[in-house]
């Protein structure tokens, strides 16, 4: 049967002009063939829509009004667009300048901490001077005259000095993929000396699957990209927020870490690390008193 014949058949069925024998055969086919049933349903709905005269009249009028509105909107947008052409060009240029400045600046920031460290290690070599040679903040590290030795310029660092970069990370959000809530971080002294009981709990909401997190403990030193500890994080699925739409649905997980670590006194930073993207998305801090 060609498509044309099929359509004729469906139309005859819908208008009730199929003869007895044909009707019985068609109805039998309808029961067993869902594809045919779907096709017939489409024809039925199409007819219901287009044979409804007042509906057709209303939609024609409505469409012409709506199209006129859209067209007038587009015209005014286009007029604005051409008027704003120069403004847009100027904006792009400005943004470009800002971007360049920013790239330049962040490159400088990366270079700064590494250079003094390498320079100082070789001639002096002791743990103390190495630490004190690291600039603590921009304002205190100004090599104003080349004659002044670096030792005098750099202030003495303490284990409690805040790390500007990590302080900034604390205020940053959790990024696009994760939503953290009910986060608690506790670090009381442990039972044995020099130990701290770290306990971290949080709730994360995300659409990503197969999560893998670590909790990193970092010292306050600006150069310490290597964590002192990498603690495992237990992840428990709480519930699906929208159970019907499985794809891209957000799920809630409970994150928890309870572990005892050895730490000296000082200020420490705790960062939640996504092992998959290798990025941090939450930062907190605690200090260990004497």
């Amino acid at each position: 049967m060609t498509t044309e014949q099929l359509y004729e058949h469906i139309e005859a069925y819908l208008s009730g002009t199929l003869q007895e024998e044909q009707l019985r055969a068609f109805e039998e086919e309808l029961r067993t063939n869902p594809e045919l049933a779907r096709e017939v349903d489409m024809h039925r709905q199409l007819e219901a829509t287009l044979s409804d005269k007042s509906y057709v009249h209303f939609r024609k009028e409505l469409d012409s009004v709506a199209n006129a509105y859209r067209a007038s909107e587009k015209r005014s947008v286009q007029a604005k667009k051409s008027a704003n052409k120069w403004l847009i060009a100027l904006t792009i240029f400005t943004l470009l300048l800002i971007a360049l400045w920013w790239i330049f600046k962040s490159k400088n920031n990366q270079d700064q901490p590494i250079l003094p460290e390498e320079k100082v290690i070789v001639p002096l070599g002791t743990q103390d001077t190495m630490q004190s040679a690291i600039p603590q903040s921009d304002s205190s590290y100004i090599p104003s005259s080349p004659s002044s030795p670096p030792k005098h310029v750099t202030p003495k660092s303490t284990p409690y000095d805040p790390n500007p970069e990590l302080e900034l990370a604390i205020t940053a959000g959790a990024g696009n993929y994760f939503k953290l809530s009910q986060t608690t971080l506790d670090a009381p002294k442990g039972e044995t000396p020099k130990t701290v009981d770290i306990s971290f709990h949080s709730r994360v909401q995300t659409a990503l699957d197969s999560l893998s997190f670590q909790l990193h403990i970092l010292s306050n030193k600006p150069t310490s990209n290597n964590p002192l500890y990498r603690l495992s994080v237990d992840i428990i699925l709480l519930k699906e927020d929208a159970p019907i739409r499985a794809f891209a649905a957000k799920k809630s997980y409970r994150l928890s870490t309870i572990q005892t670590v050895e730490l000296a006194q000082g200020l420490f930073y705790v960062r939640l690390y996504d092992s998959k993207t290798q990025e941090y998305f939450w930062t907190g801090k605690f200090s260990v008193e004497k």
Partner: protein, 188 residues
């Protein structure tokens, strides 16, 4: 219900072009701001507004219909509901409309909305056809006989009218089948 509200309803019931224009001028800006405040674009707002008008039309057709609140409240409620449905379908969207008991729909209205969303697919496909096919389809569904159609459309023969009718209908059904929203409705 004010006289003005009565006017709006009349325009919708009769499909009066000037009256429909008036409704657009009076309410479209407010609805646009509702949609854009809730994660939609201006285009979304136009779509929702247009569909809301059709829902209102269907609602006006039922004999028992009277306005229990102002026209704007009803229109606003319908737009809210339509937009809420659409947001839900865009599963990636993080925007949700907060619950607002004032605009919760009656059983009857949400049923109309649901049916209208489905019916719109058929109408939108129809409006994509060429002028010739549109005219032919309307004549056909109006139960005009094939030789009559051939005469009105200036076709050479009844046979050709039949052939054209098939081509137009086939084209129309192809557009509908390709519609993503229509595929959503194919639940069985």
């Amino acid at each position: 219900m004010t006289d003005q509200d009565q006017h709006y309803l009349l325009a919708i019931r009769s499909g009066d072009r000037a009256g429909l224009k008036q409704i657009y001028t009076d309410f479209l800006p407010r609805i646009t701001s509702l949609i854009t405040r809730n994660g939609g674009s201006k285009d979304d707002a136009y779509d929702v507004f247009q569909d809301a008008m059709v829902v209102l039309f269907e609602k006006c057709r039922t004999d028992s219909f009277t306005l229990s609140s102002s026209f704007y409240t009803l229109l606003y409620g319908i737009c809210r509901n339509l937009w809420g449905n659409r947001l839900q379908k865009r599963s990636r969207s993080e925007v949700t409309l907060e619950d607002d008991y004032k605009f919760n729909q009656t059983e009857d209205l949400s049923k109309i909305i649901q049916e209208e969303e489905k019916r719109s697919i058929f109408w939108n496909a129809f409006s994509k056809l060429g002028e010739d096919c549109q005219k032919l389809m309307l004549l056909f569904f109006d139960k005009t006989s094939m030789d009559e159609i051939a005469r009105i459309m200036n076709y050479a023969s009844e046979g050709y009218a039949k052939k054209r009718k098939f081509q137009c209908k086939e084209h129309l059904l192809q557009i509908i089948k390709a519609d993503a929203t229509f595929q959503d409705y194919q639940t069985y």
